[in-house]
Subunit: 330 residues, 2 copies
DNA sequence: CTTTAGAATGGGAACGCTCCCAAAATCTGA
DNA sequence: TCAGATTTTGGGAGCGTTCCCATTCTAAAG
């Protein structure tokens, strides 16, 4: 493990010049730069991150915080894809990722403590609930951060999100236009995402002049079994379509419908959300909304890096569009 | 963000004494220790990890490397549970986790570079293929590491694993004892885990005096759809039981069997592997092998920490037992 | 009451880098 | 050819710890 000083000696320059080269400082003679770079790569030199940090620099490490339990983490394909895309993008930008999968409340405290004095240049936080105290903590700690999903509070924060309202509207309108009259919905758990989509569902029905029947709204906890149970509650109220806010629950709903001898989509149309891998292969293939999850992760990283490097005044925000993919179930 | 020096001043002692207290050095007067600890906690002081590292200490960060693609990562519940249990245990021990989800080969190079000069005290590597060069790289780099799953090479390495042979044997024997004669198996992808379980499958049949029919062996790539397809290949050879080496494929197999009008377990018994969440709720509920995944993660962390702190001569190894859970599908 | 071993404490040096300012080298134009 | 501007380079200081050695304090023993 070599140090900057050894590289300097080998290249016949000073420590400072090597530092300039590896930090892309323009004030270096081109020939010198080349010579140094050669020595750097032939020694496979990587600057010590701890020293870098201590000297006031950056570590090149960013944190990814996903404060949800394992039960959702592995049911929803959203998270692995997100994790993968964030880590890939970071690798690409020569950065490392440090993870926190926050569980219950008592963990949160330790998270904010860790964040406040650690090796992180910045943090990405996904899937938080409304007014999660972690946001306030981050805001206060001055550390650059980006949220995935919008934060409903008056703090000016950077975020990247998909257009939940718009694509919910698209899905529900599609059902309406195909002649459905009693459109039910299966939400997840009480929280931001569920609420956003539920609101959009209500608004879309209202705009189309359809009444919103509270009996046609059920919670499924984001899991397959929950979708099954929710469908059982919904069915007595005679829906002719169901909009489930993720694919796992859509699959559960379909399973129940079939057990009851109903056909999908002829008797009841079902639309999911996520375009999970199972969506395309399931019988019937799921009509669902595809979120650009990988893009979401990539953007979050880019925004964070931009914030770290350029410290802009204003928070950065970005809303990505998702798409209704029409298959067989609706 | 306070420094050790400020804490020292507040407590009326020297930097060194504070350092001793936070590092549990016994050479501190009991009263002094208490006084210092009080100041530490009232200031919410956390020692700067970068400085610690630089001064020759530890960072308290361990790496978790899972060199597989996202397709398996989110299909198998194994990984989220493992990730969760590792992070939880680390939090508990006041350590942070840094992640690498390695994708293809070209990423490996960067991994070993990162590892060689970074903030990590040690590394846990899960799910590697045979003779993965990363193991040699780790071995050479002198950094403490623990594998999850055994490594088939002559390097003396620490690992924690489950008893794949034994539990496969249990499962297959269970099928034999319940009178099945033509027991098929669905493996994953070519690799260590598949091979271990396949070997055990062959051996168990042989020991019971049953012939091994190569037509009763199919690959399913660890995914649900693959299990479905594998079952389609298997069925013409008239199996009366199937041992799938994970639950996703077991579910796929069952789906195909039913579409063909066969009953599970009456016509064909199906045993899975993993005890995935879906196993209990599926109809029919899956008979499957439950691995102590969370325990695996916990043990890996403990072994790694032991290695970091005590630097034992010999590699540590541990094999955990898993259990056949009998439900409805076999 | 002195000596001395042992416990408790303090402070310098070092870890490997970046930042900043000063010095050296090079270039420019009259 | 030389002053002055500009580019390029060098080295000191400092980041917040730990480690090590030196010093001070305490208490037991003579």
């Amino acid at each position: 493990m070599s140090t900057i000083e050894e590289i300097a000696k080998q290249a016949g320059v000073s420590r400072s010049t090597v530092s300039r080269v590896i930090n892309n400082d323009p004030n270096v003679n081109e020939l010198t730069r080349e010579r140094v770079l050669e020595v750097v790569s032939s020694n496979n030199f990587v600057p010590n991150r701890a020293a870098r940090k201590l000297a006031g620099g950056r570590t090149g490490v960013i944190g990814l915080v996903i404060p949800i339990g394992v039960s959702r983490l592995f049911v929803e394909p959203f998270f692995p894809i997100l994790i993968q895309s964030v880590t890939n993008r970071c690798n690409h930008l020569n950065r490392s990722v440090m993870f926190w999968l926050g569980e219950p409340e008592y963990e949160r405290r330790s998270i904010s403590q860790i964040l406040s004095n650690d090796l992180l240049d910045g943090v990405i936080v996904s899937s938080l609930e409304d007014k999660d105290p972690i946001v306030a903590a981050l805001h206060q700690s001055q550390i650059p951060f980006v949220l995935i999903g919008r934060y409903r509070d008056n703090l000016p924060v950077s975020f990247v999100d998909i257009d939940n309202e718009k694509c919910t509207q698209t899905a529900v309108n599609y059902l309406i236009e195909s002649g459905r009259k009693r459109i039910a919905t299966i939400t997840g758990v009480e929280g931001m995402v569920s609420r956003e989509r539920l609101e959009a569902y209500r608004n879309t029905l209202a705009q189309a002049g359809l009444a919103v029947d509270e009996n046609l709204i059920a919670e499924g906890g984001f899991v397959e079994e929950g979708g099954y149970d929710a469908m059982a509650k919904l069915l007595p109220h005679k829906p002719d379509a169901v909009f489930a806010i993720n694919d796992a629950m859509a699959v559960g709903a379909i399973r129940y419908l079939r057990e009851q001898g109903l056909r999908v989509p002829e008797d009841v149309a079902v639309v999911g959300f996520d375009d999970a891998p199972i969506a395309a292969s399931y019988k019937p293939a799921l009509t669902t909304i595809a979120q650009p999850i990988a893009e979401l992760g990539r953007q979050a990283v880019d925004m964070l890096v931009q914030q770290i490097d350029q410290q802009p005044e204003e928070p950065l925000t970005q809303v990505l569009t998702s798409e209704l993919i029409i298959r067989e179930s609706a």
